[in-house]
């Protein structure tokens, strides 16, 4: 089973899914075999003037994640994630990170073939 990255407002499974991808507080990376979690801080992307989505995509690819669960992804970040072969599950805001993972494991997350946010520029 692959590693999943979930945008998160904090470091635990009880924290809420951060609806933003590029400027998410951080990512909880879950190994679905062992359910071991680690937290990747995304603070450096939050303060970038531009390119936060690209930076965030690099961060989760470097963390070895093949699946992303989040709220909204913009077009540039989406293209980057597609090029990296990362599957994107969107519209998962209003859940806790743990709930989003359960929903994925139950097979009820569909993967997007297009971004669900317009470009900022």
């Amino acid at each position: 089973m692959p590693k999943i990255a979930v945008t998160s407002e904090g470091p635990t499974l009880q924290d809420a899914v951060d609806p933003r991808f590029g400027r998410a507080g951080g990512f909880i990376v879950v190994d679905t075999d062992t359910m071991a979690t680690s937290y990747v801080d995304n603070g450096a992307s939050q303060v970038m003037a531009q390119g936060a989505g690209i930076q965030a995509a690099e961060n989760i690819v470097n963390a070895g994640a093949e699946i992303l669960l989040t709220g909204f992804v913009g077009p540039k970040a989406f293209a980057a994630l597609q090029a990296a072969g990362v599957k994107v599950g969107q519209n998962l805001e209003n859940l806790s990170v743990g709930e989003a993972i359960e929903r994925f494991k139950a097979g009820s997350v569909s993967f997007a073939d297009a971004p669900n946010r317009e470009s900022h520029s």
């Binding site: 970038m48 531009q50 390119g51 690209i54 930076q55 995509a57 690099e58 690819v61 540039k76 293209a79 980057a80 994630l81 090029a83 990296a84 072969g85 900022h120 520029s121």
Partner: protein, 289 residues
């Protein structure tokens, strides 16, 4: 002498002051509108248009067959205009600031110069003799400094050719566009109004421009409104108040018709003559210091 008219808060009277200063300037002058996101100096100087030139920025275009994914360009780029994902170098030309560094570091010649349209440069003449240079950002373009840099380059050429002074109508705020607009100036003229918002942003502007170590003078617009904090601040920081424009209905009516404030009455004409003297004095003090 290059004078940049700046403010912090928008709507304090930068363009009103720039236009009247330009129209009454006693030496050869180039009037420049660097508020490229919404240029409006032409509404008052009413130049007859001589030319419109498209301004482009050199941005990278990828020849994917030559790219060996070495990451030299992605490590150099500070703006995420280049990124590698999997086996793909992604080029996002709309994020590029045009530094040209990626062309230099690419060892295989995989990046070729392409271009992104930034906007236009309009050149006209006002009142027979004043060249007016206006930058106008393309709708959808998110960065104004690259266009401003090219307008400033032309501004310097024109001023040198003519032996002219320059008045720059700067954009509001204290972020990159505002800093970019005041960079070449010899004197910064801060236009403020004695309202709470005006005073707040006036302080920010002073704080942002102080490290540039350029002489600054102040115009208080809508004088009589609000309170005395702007005056106290100027006194405390040693900022000379070079002009006050009273808060009067006739001034607003004259402005709304596109009139030049310096031409409203003798008092205003005198105010702007004194303002020019004050700017000359600030400039000379620096040269002699």
């Amino acid at each position: 002498m290059i004078v940049a008219v700046a403010s912090g808060k928008g709507g304090t009277g930068k363009t009103t002051v720039s236009a009247s200063l330009a129209a009454t300037w006693e030496r050869p002058l180039v009037a420049v509108d660097l508020d490229v996101e919404e240029p409006n100096l032409h509404l008052f100087l009413k130049p007859s248009l001589v030319s419109i030139e498209t301004v482009n920025l050199e941005v990278p275009v990828l020849d994917a067959e030559r790219c060996n994914l070495c990451r030299a360009c992605t490590e150099l780029c500070q703006f995420k205009a280049l990124a590698i994902f999997g086996k793909t170098l992604m080029v996002m030309p709309e994020m590029c600031h045009g530094c040209g560094g990626c062309f230099e570091v690419c060892p295989t010649g995989a990046l070729k110069p392409g271009s992104r349209e930034l906007g236009v440069m309009e050149i006209g003449h006002s009142r027979g003799s004043i060249p007016c240079l206006t930058g106008r950002l393309r709708i959808g373009e998110s960065m104004s400094p690259p266009l401003m840099r090219q307008i400033r380059h032309r501004m310097a050429e024109m001023a040198t050719d003519m032996g002219a002074d320059v008045i720059i109508d700067a954009p509001p705020g204290v972020s990159c566009p505002a800093m970019n607009a005041v960079q070449d100036s010899d004197v910064i003229l801060l236009v403020t109004e004695p309202t709470p918002f005006g005073f707040h942003d006036f302080q920010l502007a002073w704080e942002a421009f102080t490290p540039l170590k350029k002489p600054m003078g102040v115009v208080i617009n809508r004088a009589g409104l609000g309170d005395d904090r702007a005056y106290a601040f100027c006194k405390a920081k040693g900022l000379p108040i070079l002009a006050e424009i009273p808060y009067r209905r006739e001034i607003a009516e004259h402005y709304a018709k596109g009139g030049l404030l310096a031409e409203l009455d003798n008092k205003m004409r005198w105010t702007f003559a004194r303002l020019q003297e004050g700017l000359d004095r600030l400039h000379k003090e620096v040269i002699h210091a």
